[in-house]
Amino acid sequence: MGRGLRAAFRALLRKPVRVRYLTEAGEMVPVPERYRGKITYDKGACIGCLLCIRTCPSGAISTTEEKKVEFSVFKCTFCGQCAEICPKKAVKLGSDFELVVYEKEGMVVR
C-alpha cells in the first residue's frame, strides 16, 4: 500500500503524461525517420515493372492504362514492401498519418 501511495503522490506532483498530437491546423507532430505513413509515388521514375503489385500483400496497387501503377491508401497496410522492392525507388512511405478525407479519390496515390 505504501508503495502504491508513494507512486500515486509522485504522479500527482509531476506533470501528467501526454503524447502530443496535432496542435494547430497544419502543424504535424514529427515522426521518426523510418515511419511508414501514406505512400508517396514518383510517377516519372516508375518503369512499370509491376514488381510492387506482385508482392503487395493487400492488393492495394493496381495498374493504370499508361503502364504505371496507382495505390489505394485505404487498402494499404503500410508494410512498406512496395517501397522495398521497387528497383527505381519510385515509391516511398511518407510521414503523413492523417488519413482522413471527404472523397475516397483523395486517398488514391497516382
Partner: protein, 401 residues
Amino acid sequence: MTGETRELEYDYSRLVVPFGPVHPALKEPVHFKVFVKKEEVVDVGLRLGHVHRGIEALAETRNLVQAMYLVERVCGICSHSHTTCFVGALEEIGRIQPSERALYLRTLVFELERLHSHLLWLGIMAYEIGFDTLFMFAFNTREAVLDLFEEITGNRVHHSMNVIGGVRWDLDGRMVEKVGRSMSKVREAAQRIREIFQDKTVEERLSGVGLLDRGAAQELCTVGPTARGSGLKTDVRKEDPYAAYGALEGSFSIVTRTEGDAYARTEVRIFEIFETINMINEILARLPGGSIRPGETIIRSMNRVPQGEAVSRVEAPRGELLYYVRTDGKGGLRRLKVRTPTLANIVGLRQMLIGGEVADIPVVVASIDPCLSCTNRITVIDLDKGGAGEPLRRRRRKWPH
C-alpha cells in the same frame, strides 16, 4: 428487507452468467458460460470462433512474401513472433542461413516484443483486479517500448522486421544507445511496478486463485508463462533455440514458480521482464557486424524456396507458437497451420475456474494472458443446415495432398 427480495425471479442456487462475447473484462470476443452457485463457479463452457478470419486458407492463395505480411496480422501483440516462426520455417525448407547480425536483430525485436507484451499484460491484470492506477503506470512504461519500435522499424505494432533470409531494418550506433537508455528507464519503471504488485492487497487478490497444479498443466499441454507458473520448466528458447538464442543461451534463465496460481503466473511474467531487459542489453553489447539481409531481392529468395514442409516453433510472449508450413515450390503455400499459445492454454481455464469465485473469473481468464484473436482458429459450421455455412461451402476447397 426480506420482503423486498421477493422481487427477484432468480434461482440463486444456479445462475448461468454469460461472460462475453462482449464483456468489459474480456476485451476480445470469447464466450464463457459460467454456472454459478451463490458466488461459486460450478461449471464452465467455452465457445470460440467469433472472429474466425480464415487466415490459414487465405494464406494458401498468396505467395510467400504476401503470406509473410498476412501472418504478421494474426496477432497485434506478438506480430513479430508470427513472422519469425513463419520465416523460420521457410528458411528451413529453403536452407537459407541468415547472417549473424540479422539473427541478433531478429532476437532483439523479439525480446522487445516480449517486454511490451508483458507490460501490457501487467496493466490488464491490474485493471482486472480494479487497480486502474497500476494499469496506467504499466501502459505508460510500455509506451517507451512502442516508441522504440516506431523508431527501429517504422511501426508500433506490425514491425515488418523479417524478410526471407534476414531482417529489413538495421540499428546504427545512435539507436543502439537509445535502446540501451530506454531499457534502463523501463527497468526502473518495471521495478516500481513490481513493488506495487508485491503489495499485500494485490497479492491477496491473486494468490490461491486459478490453481493449476503441475500434473494438470503438463497433461493439458499448457505452454509459456502459464506452464512455468505451475512449475514446468519449459521454454522453446532453451529447448529448441532459434534465431540467436543458441548463442545467447547463457544470458537468460527460465523463470518458474511452483504455486500454480494467478500470482505465480504474474510473478513469472514480472521476472521475465527483467530477464528480457538483461537479454536486450546483452544483445546490444554483442551485436555482430555484417550485412542484415541477402543481396538478392525478396522475390528471388522466395523462388528459391523449394517444395517441402517444415514445422517451426518459437517462444512467443504467451508461450510456444507453432507453425506447420508446406510450400508448393512455385513461391506459394500448399498448407499453413498455426497453433497459437493461447489455444494450448485456454483448455486449462476450465480446471482453473471451477471451484473459484465469480469475482475471480476475470482474474483467472486474464492470468493466462489470452490472445483471443490468435485463438479463434476454429469455427463450427453446420454445413447440412446451410445458413451461415452456405457461402463457405461454395468456397470450400479440396486440400491438395
